[in-house]
């Protein structure tokens, strides 16, 4: 009964469902992420009020809130398995690539849920020029894909190291700078009425490179 494409797809789907069920039962990441996002936006709103003409600050603030709200949970996708000693179970039912793809899909879903709550709240509290929804969602979607694929890859690689917390920050910081810079620039451009093609291409290419590297690397993870 060798693995095949449909078995791999079944494994990815099973891992995604398991991650959702575990998150729903424990609220390990979502509550903390939403608390951070809502508290930060409320605090900044009280301090500076609405910022209708500061598209530079608006773009930076939205990405900073999303990044830091999600980072703790995204980084822990694999650490939870290591610390809960469930990685052996996972490895006995799915290939490393299927495990990582399941985790990546969950991280994307997690970001989407976070954004569904955070973005409307952000737009209401912070003001800002009218949103051009096409470019806005394009940059947000591609930025989320790049963010999730990067943190999933780094999380998988450092999960079994001793200093994984420090290592995750040190390795992911330079990798996430690209995502942050392109994401901020893209959101600012859509508010200013400028094209977002350059930023969208950069984010898409970056996500594609990280995903490609991930597919090559994942099957060699955990080879003791």
């Amino acid at each position: 009964m060798p693995p095949n494409g449909s078995n791999s797809a079944a494994a990815v789907w099973a891992i995604l469902r398991k991650e959702c069920r575990s998150e729903w039962r424990t609220r390990y990441g979502l509550n903390a992420a939403l608390l951070f996002a809502v508290a930060t936006l409320t605090g900044v709103s009280f301090a500076v009020g609405r910022l209708p003409d500061r598209t530079d600050l608006l773009a930076a603030l939205l990405w900073v809130v999303l990044l830091f709200a999600a980072l703790a949970s995204l980084a822990h996708a694999f650490v939870r398995e290591v610390e809960g000693h469930t990685l052996t179970l996972l490895r006995l039912v799915a290939s490393p690539t299927a495990i990582a793809l399941g985790k990546l899909l969950f991280n994307l879903l997690f970001l989407a849920v976070l954004e569904v709550v955070t973005v409307p709240l952000f737009l209401v509290l912070m003001g800002g020029p009218p949103v051009r929804w096409g470019p806005f969602l394009l940059i947000l979607g591609l930025g989320s894909l790049a963010l999730a694929s990067t943190t999933t890859l780094v999380g998988a690689v450092v999960s079994q190291t001793r200093g994984r917390g420090a290592l995750f920050a040190a390795v992911s910081l330079p990798l996430l700078m690209v995502v942050l810079a392109a994401g901020v620039s893209g959101l600012r451009a859509q508010w200013d009425g400028n094209p977002v093609t350059t930023e969208a291409r950069l984010l898409a290419a970056y996500a594609a490179v990280v995903l490609g590297a991930s597919v090559l690397l994942y099957d060699h993870l955990w080879e003791d």
């Binding site: 494994a11 398991k18 179970l89 006995l92």
Partner: protein
């Protein structure tokens, strides 16, 4: 005749100079053997002599430092990365998701392995190890003995032709140990069961024995 019985004559496990070194210490000294289904094989030896390491190597969870292991099924070699499809594995290190129930844990494992009737298989495995009444309890609520039964259910879930059981009787009461004997007896009629143990009652179930004679306690390489 069970599904596993169809492949009974076709399963073979072989080690060729199989050796594993952890950082700075020897996990398993170089070892060669050949096993054929059906039957039971016991792996014995002092603590740290490499019993668990051998089972992890055969399961494809560890890469050998030297040598290789071969699992062949119906004349086809099953590479280490694909062995999860043909084996059941239970060991004390195997942990489950505590926020999920016993049934959910096993159904997840069956679904990830591509089984269509995952709930039925999970229920059947739990019934077989006497955990049917606790199927909907979360794993966090189980005693150590019941967790061991869940490990056995996980190994039996898809009725694999190769069973690798590391200390299968640990934490079990008398009824549980009798259950292990019955399971080993039933599975060995169809496939190959490899038990790593120092319990005379468990290795007494085996017709063959691999005795690891290292100094134990993971002595320096």
């Amino acid at each position: 005749m069970s599904a596993a019985a169809v492949v009974v004559d076709a399963l073979a496990v072989e080690a060729l100079g199989l050796e594993h070194l952890y950082t700075g210490r020897r996990g398993l000294p170089a070892l060669s053997f050949a096993l054929q289904a059906p039957g039971v094989v016991a792996v014995t030896g002092p603590n740290g002599s490499g019993k668990s390491t051998l089972l992890r190597l055969l399961a494809g969870l560890l890469q050998p430092t030297a040598g290789r292991s071969l699992v062949t099924l119906a004349g086809r070699e099953v590479p280490p990365a694909e062995r999860r499809a043909v084996l059941g594995f239970a060991s004390p290190e195997l942990a489950f998701y505590e926020e999920l129930s016993c049934l959910e844990n096993l159904a997840f494992a069956a679904e990830a392995r591509g089984a269509r009737d995952r709930a039925a298989r999970a229920s059947a495995a739990l019934e077989r190890v006497g955990l049917g009444a606790r199927a909907r309890d979360r794993v966090a609520a189980l005693s150590s003995g019941m967790t061991q039964r869940l490990r056995l259910a996980f190994a039996l879930l898809l009725r694999p032709p190769l069973l690798l059981l590391d200390e299968p009787g640990s934490h079990l009461d008398e009824e549980g140990r009798t259950l292990v004997e019955r399971i080993v007896d039933e599975e060995a009629r169809a496939g190959l069961v490899v038990i790593a143990t120092n319990e005379s009652r468990e290795w007494g179930l085996a017709a063959q024995r691999i005795e690891l004679r290292g100094r134990g306690l993971g002595h320096p390489a």
